[in-house]
Symmetry: C2
Subunit: 149 residues, 2 copies
Amino acid sequence: MILSTKGRYGLKMMFELAKKHGNGTMSLKDIAKNQELSETYLEQLISHLRKAGLVNSIRGAQGGYELSKTPSEITVGEIIRTLEGPLAPSDCVVDNEPECTKAGYCVTRPIWERIMESINSVIDSITLQDMINDFQKLILTKEGENERE
Amino acid sequence: MILSTKGRYGLKMMFELAKKHGNGTMSLKDIAKNQELSETYLEQLISHLRKAGLVNSIRGAQGGYELSKTPSEITVGEIIRTLEGPLAPSDCVVDNEPECTKAGYCVTRPIWERIMESINSVIDSITLQDMINDFQKLILTKEGENERE
DNA sequence: TGAAATCCGAGTTAATAACTAGGGATTCGG
DNA sequence: CCGAATCCCTAGTTATTAACTCGGATTTCA
């Protein structure tokens, strides 16, 4: 029930771009360096994010990536679902299969549906801007702690 | 982000035992037949459920399994976590690693924590008795539909 | 023009999921 | 007391997938 690196790394990438938002593009090289991840692997991931319209790319030297919208307009849910597909605990829920058993009903299915809904409601309620806000609050706290030492 | 067959089959097994609860034991053979699953595979799964104290087993001919408690005392969460381990979207959340990055903080971690909490709150709020109630309601509805035809 | 970047598809490797196999131990019914 | 039914346990197998890597093409700026 773990999220793959696609979703996890993808969100970290998007957070890097969110911090940079409004200040031009950022190269994949820098994103990879900041998050200590493989550049060639991130390349694949960001390609999906671009095709989904979440980031813009500028090719050629001095090129890079940038968010296509402001951080407050992009949710964690969009990012993760773009890279992972639907976050369903069982395939039957996403494919909307008529019934998994020949009995005509499945007792576990409503449970998978409720889990999926609850996950989605969490990740759809968080935007990149929220992450930035939390991040800055954390930084301020840490600085305060250091001063008091 | 899919649940493995361990959790999915395990829950189906426990539901079979819950229906039978109060009427003696049920053999693995019958459980497997009812749910159309591999008997030898289910054997492994139920072994964990037994060690976790969720089911009792009676060995020998005419033996079988039964719930160790009443259906209302067993939650879906207990069953799934027994078979799947903690339902965390990232390992860092379950191992309680101090920090994943050398920067001293991780912006994505609070999100994984919130997802985990939300999944757990769903599955911990559903008992086997709830599943039985839903199941019986469904049966009655179907019967009603048939009568009206 | 050449270095820096994005773009693209295919290939590799290691881990894991999902079983299967085989034999041992226990218990009941006849 | 025997044999069939059942649980118990460990190890092996197979297929899939995750997590990358690689090579090269294209674009653009300086």
